[in-house]
């Protein structure tokens, strides 16, 4: 291995600073959430305690955050499942040109770049004019899909662009029907990417703010609840909440990454029996 150029060390330092920039603030509120009961929103720490975490479990201190958490969790799961199913179907559709595929592609891009507040406003107005009540599980759910689906589809496009079609041909040559080819050949091959799509679906929904602002109705999702707290809560309890929900996100992300990794290991172990026959 040849020697590293000096630029390597400079760039490593830059990268280190970038990571510090990304994670530093989050770590800071992580530390400050253990502030003593007398402590404030900034350093110094006045003792260390679990006081503010305890406050999270008392309704009067923080409002209905557990209800908001349950709603965000349910909504995240709904969005995740829908995003995976719709993205896979869309990805399969786009493997061949069909009338209108060009327009649909640009709609997907439009859905990605349109300012979130427009979706919020537009969906809110439609429900309003039709005399329907906005609710996180209906209007909120649909609005979030306009943000998660483009990501899911872009991943599916990338996956299918790299997909080796000879696997399907082999399946067909051995007499598999179109449906069997998809369920027994295509889906298992793209499974790790589907987990990625699921990760985007869940986390983007769980953290979405702007698109749910006018479409979630009288019951807040967690990001809306947290934002509401920023205007009237001036104690470290908001840091405790931030730390809890970030930890929850990290747990979810970790679970997804470990699953992808385990699938990869399993595939490396069992995937191919080439050269083992005869």
């Amino acid at each position: 291995m040849d020697r590293r150029p000096r630029s390597f060390y400079l760039l490593t330092a830059f990268f280190g600073l970038f990571i510090l920039f990304l994670y530093g603030p989050t770590l800071t509120i992580g530390i400050l959430s253990f502030q003593g009961p007398e402590g404030g929103l900034t350093f110094p720490m006045r003792g260390a305690s679990l006081h503010w975490f305890r406050d999270l479990f008392q309704e009067q201190a923080v409002g209905d955050i557990w209800g908001a958490f349950r709603r965000s969790l349910a909504l995240g799961l709904m969005v995740m499942v829908t995003t995976v199913v719709v993205s896979v179907m869309g990805g399969l559709a786009f493997r061949k040109r069909f009338a209108g595929s060009g327009v649909l592609f640009y709609l997907i891009i439009a859905s990605l770049v349109i300012p979130s507040i427009l979706i919020s406003l537009g969906v809110g107005l439609i429900f309003n004019q039709l005399g329907l009540r906005v609710h996180w599980a209906t209007s909120g759910f649909g609005s979030q899909l306009t943000w998660t689906l483009p990501f899911g589809l872009l991943i599916m496009f990338a996956v299918f662009n790299r997909f080796d079609k000879s696997y399907e041909e082999a399946a067909r040559d051995q007499g598999a029907s179109a449906g069997q080819t998809i369920t027994h050949v295509v889906l298992p091959i793209i499974a790790p990417s589907l987990i990625g799509v699921g990760l985007f679906g869940f986390t983007l929904s769980y953290d979405e703010f702007a698109r749910t602002l006018l479409t979630s109705g009288s019951y807040n999702t967690l990001p809306l609840e947290i934002f509401g707290m920023t205007t009237n809560v001036t104690t470290p309890v908001i840091y405790a909440l931030g730390t809890m929900t970030t930890l929850f996100s990290l747990l979810i992300i970790g679970a997804f990454i470990v699953t992808v990794w385990a699938l990869g290991r399993r595939r490396a172990r069992l995937g191919s029996d080439a050269g083992k026959g005869v």
Binding site: F14, L149, F209, I253
Partner: protein
């Protein structure tokens, strides 16, 4: 057979089309229609009136706010591009082990999957009047009084934008860099190019599609934002998104809709120009 092919495509694309129809196309149409309506303090009235647009284009505030929006977008773009390109370049060309590369890449992307609101809140203890930045600077003797412009200022707004959106540059640029044929870089070295010359004449031109996609992401996210500006400026600065959300808060939906239409047109024009430089379908 031809019909059959189209039919299968339509069937598979049907759920997607339905979602986009109901939650993307119809809302935009509704906004366009409502932008011609009129409003009282309590309700909105169907009409065909140019009043909202006349008011919008007649008000100096509009131009100021649009200018501020472009300013945020331009500065954030330049910073995210510089940082994003450097990080992607480091990951793509200086990390030799693929495992380390994946690990570091994930390290960069994980914050993207956590809450933006909390990531904004987390700047308070750092930038506040008695925050870490100020007390460090005072301890070092660089300043005597806490700096007031660190938090709730344009500075903190742009800092938050860069914090939240640099990732949208890193990922597409990294993706494009990883697809550059390494023999091209060797060829440049063999022909006597220095590292810097290779970077400028080989890597940057080949990375342009990634840069364009990152640019589209960052510009649209910043131009459409309202919450970062509101929170990080302590409601002292405005951009177009805030103009819309303020109207919404006052239940002035027609006026909000008119502003939204103008914002949408602006964003689409910007994207239209950028898409001339890159074929997204080819880059996936």
């Amino acid at each position: 057979m031809l019909k059959n092919r189209h039919f299968l495509g339509w069937l598979q694309a049907a759920p997607l089309s339905l979602v986009l129809l109901v939650f993307l196309i119809l809302p935009i149409i509704t906004i366009v229609i409502v932008s011609f309506w009129q409003a009282t303090e309590f309700s909105i009235i169907p009409a065909f009136s140019m009043e909202n647009y006349q008011f919008l284009f007649g008000s100096p505030v509009t131009y100021k706010v649009f200018l501020a929006t472009f300013k945020y977008a331009a500065i954030t773009w330049a910073l995210t591009l510089a940082i994003g390109f450097t990080v992607a370049y480091y990951l793509a060309f200086h990390i030799r082990s693929q495992t380390v590369q994946i690990a570091l890449f994930l390290l960069c992307t994980i914050p993207f999957w956590t809450s933006n609101i909390i990531r904004m809140i987390s700047w308070i203890p750092f930038l506040g009047r008695n925050g870490i930045a100020n007390s460090t600077l005072i301890d070092m003797g660089l300043i005597d009084e806490p700096l007031e412009w660190l938090l709730y200022s344009d500075f903190s707004v742009i800092l938050a934008f860069v914090h939240l959106y640099t990732l949208f540059m890193v990922v597409p640029i990294f993706n494009t860099m990883m697809r550059i044929d390494r023999s091209l870089i060797e060829a440049a070295y063999d022909n006597g190019a220095s590292g810097f010359q290779t970077l400028v004449h080989v890597i940057v031109p080949l990375t342009k599609p990634g840069i364009m996609i990152g640019t589209i992401f960052v510009l649209t996210l910043v131009m459409g934002d309202f919450i970062t500006v509101r929170f990080m400026s302590g409601s002292q600065s405005a951009n177009v998104g805030r103009l819309i959300s303020n109207d919404i808060a006052l239940l002035q939906y027609p006026s909000a809709a008119a502003t939204a239409v103008v914002l949408l047109c602006t964003v689409l024009i910007v994207i239209g120009i950028l898409l001339r430089f890159v074929d997204i379908r080819k880059e996936l």
